[in-house]
Symmetry: C2
Subunit: 276 residues, 2 copies
């Protein structure tokens, strides 16, 4: 009962609802509850609003407790249906802040659904897709072509977190993120891969605790020399000393999520280039 | 002046600030303003809070107008420094909702910074990384191995949006999303690629307006037959008829962002499998 397992949470949006859900999740994480979750995206007219209300009110009856209804609905017609008929606790994440912002900015909001009319035509969107393509083409050192166009080049041993971080930098932040593995050959030569030398300022080193690295590698290739703790210790030690000698920033990914790693890298880039 | 170009907007968080910024961006998009943007992530102690306040108050003085300060800070000490000293308009996106939620749920929030102590150890995080690896390995029909483990398999002609959508499904939603190109060989045989036949229920077709497809392909390979409008028309027509004959759901990506496409696919999967 105190886990609120019989409590439903709805995420209602006239767009994708990703903003509503991400933000509401952050709020819900502040409580030790495990509610049932229902997403209702694209609720963009009165009909769909009434349908959403029916679902919410049905849950209220079944649960015996009123659902939490997080909404970022901008469409006034939809919002009014929710306000007037929904038996849940309506948490209007938009309206709550729009009114004070209108006052502060001295202008009316445009009540536009969470995107411009056609987002795919915007410059920003185009650049983001370009960044994703660039990042995929430059994953794992696949090519040295156009490396000078990258915003950042992540280096590190295999499975240190380069690929997921690169993809996140591209998808979320629109950054062209190449990544390049450091391999035994580099350690023997005690030099960075030659293709990277002209781009030293763009390099960012990822490292990881050898124990954790060994666990991750064992999942992929059990009982291999590649995954052995001894080899992981060797590779990490050599990679770190390579990076240090080259004067490259180093970040440990051991206890960090890709969001955290990506945010730290972006901060670093902004400090280098004076923001964007 | 009315564009508020001399107005600064700060995003202050004790975590990555990605939640704060995404949500605040959705709010700001409701206004025709182009403010200066400053991100201040990882503000997690009083010292850093005072530093943030100095930056905000400096902007206030330089701009001659008070900055908007969006915050999702959970740490009470940090929040108090902001509340007491910051000369901006403080928009406390967390506190605003936490109090009513505490009341509704009959419990105190735990004031935990936007993540569990070590997010990288959670099952959910592990599954997400697995999904990213799976998706990359199964990009562009690279392998038929383990296709049965996929949550969804996107099919469509080259450049119809399969790859960015797959990556988003993996990164944001933790779904294992394979993708498979439909190529002239398939159109000649008038059959889906044989490797996909056992997984028909997991298939989801992406299509696109031939005109738009031709534009996208021209960016990559100018003046090629591949990019010609005639060829794009042929491929799209054949791909759609293949999908239709096989009874596969089809979605046009022409005017949709990857977030929208991914959300529609997730909704579809949930309706198939009864939620998750």
């Amino acid at each position: 009962m105190s886990s609120h397992a019989n409590r439903s949470v709805f995420f209602v949006s006239d767009g994708t609802g990703i903003t509503a859900e991400t933000f509401a999740d952050a709020l819900l994480r502040q409580f030790e509850i495990r509610p049932k979750r229902v997403r209702l995206p694209f609720v963009d007219d009165a009909d769909k609003a009434h349908q959403a209300v029916r679902q919410i009110n049905h849950a209220a009856a079944v649960d015996g407790t009123r659902p939490l209804v997080f909404t970022t609905v901008v469409n006034m017609e939809v919002l009014q249906v929710l306000q007037q008929h929904c038996q849940g606790m309506l948490i209007d994440m938009f309206g709550t802040f729009i009114a004070p912002l209108e006052h502060e900015l001295g202008m009316k909001s445009n009540h536009r659904v969470g995107r411009f009319s056609d987002v795919t035509k915007s410059r920003e969107y185009h650049d983001r897709i370009e960044a994703i393509n660039f990042t995929l083409e430059h994953d794992d050192g696949q090519t040295n072509e156009n490396l000078e166009k990258s915003d950042v080049i992540l280096i590190g041993v295999s499975r240190s977190g380069k690929t997921p971080t690169s993809l996140y930098l591209a998808l979320q932040f629109g950054l062209k993120a190449a990544n390049y593995p450091l391999i035994p050959e580099d350690f023997e030569r005690r030099q960075l891969p030659p293709a990277l030398l002209p781009h030293k300022k763009k390099l960012f080193g990822l490292t990881i605790d050898p124990q954790r690295l060994s666990e991750i590698r064992h999942e992929r290739r059990p009982h291999s020399r590649y995954a052995s703790l001894e080899n992981c210790r060797y590779e990490v030690r050599e990679a770190e000393s390579l990076m240090r000698r080259a004067g490259i920033r180093i970040l440990s990914t051991t206890h960090k999520s890709i969001e955290e790693i990506a945010t730290i890298i972006r901060q670093d880039l902004e400090q280098l280039h004076g923001g964007r």
